[in-house]
Symmetry: C2
Subunit: 154 residues, 2 copies
């Protein structure tokens, strides 16, 4: 059925981030909606951030477009331009190759929910605030190229 | 800037539907967010339906995946399975090639808003309720293949 029973989709807070970078996303709970609904041409995550949680480490993608729409609650989008409060209905877009690291922080006292869509070439990308990048093969590496003993969660 | 200034994006109610099929979408106002934000790997429309308006004629796509999330207000998703009320936060997915005609109707007394994402191969599709189909080349045809003097709006 086209209308999605969100409760029936696995709800996880998995991350492949090596410590200590995993701590800020422990309160990020998500559902992967595309595989659950037979969509293959883009990915869709339905994400809940608990108070204090981040959507990810601040990052950008070399080859992948991202788009998000806030569904409820409030988050702060942090990017190279500063901080921008997002509330229900607000949208943001992150074109492939634009090296403007971005993430959402829930600084409020309540959960917030957003939907994020991504598609494109898996060409890796960077986390500008920390000694970590991600590779096209799905690995995490130090800025000098040395691998972390961890892999990205699909 | 990643946060989108929605008010700055052109707001239109254009349609390429030939009469009388255009009448139900006259109250459908949308913003094309992908070209406005340099996203190229999927399309995103931010859509407002006035009371009484439909999102489209009931349709399905041969080669394109679609996903939508309700942002505010209430709409009725009509598909081959029946009618399903969508409210803020509800999501729906329409995989390419699934011949389940679908659309949203705003039967409420207030505007409703949703965001819809689409990507894939442009292989045409069908409107099961009316004597019209759409072609990969972007034209509208009768079920017997005779063209309408109209073309799809990009």
């Amino acid at each position: 059925m086209p209308k999605i029973d969100l409760q029936a989709v696995e709800h996880v807070n998995r991350t492949g981030y090596p410590p200590p970078f995993d701590a800020p996303v422990a309160g990020r709970w998500y559902r992967r909606l595309a595989p659950a609904t037979n969509l293959t041409q883009f990915g869709v995550s339905h994400v809940t951030l608990e108070p204090g949680a981040w959507s990810s480490q601040r990052h950008w993608h070399e080859g992948e477009d991202e788009f998000l729409v806030m569904v409820s609650g409030e988050a702060v989008l942090v990017d190279d331009d500063g901080e921008h409060v997002l509330r229900a209905g607000d949208c943001a877009a992150f074109p492939a190759g634009e090296r403007n690291g971005h993430h959402l922080q829930n600084r409020s006292a309540a959960d917030c929910v957003f939907v994020v869509v991504g598609a494109g070439r898996n060409e890796g990308g960077d986390y500008p605030d920390i000694d970590m990048s991600f590779t096209p093969a799905g690995g995490y590496v130090h800025k000098d190229g040395t691998p972390y003993p961890a892999a990205r969660v699909p």
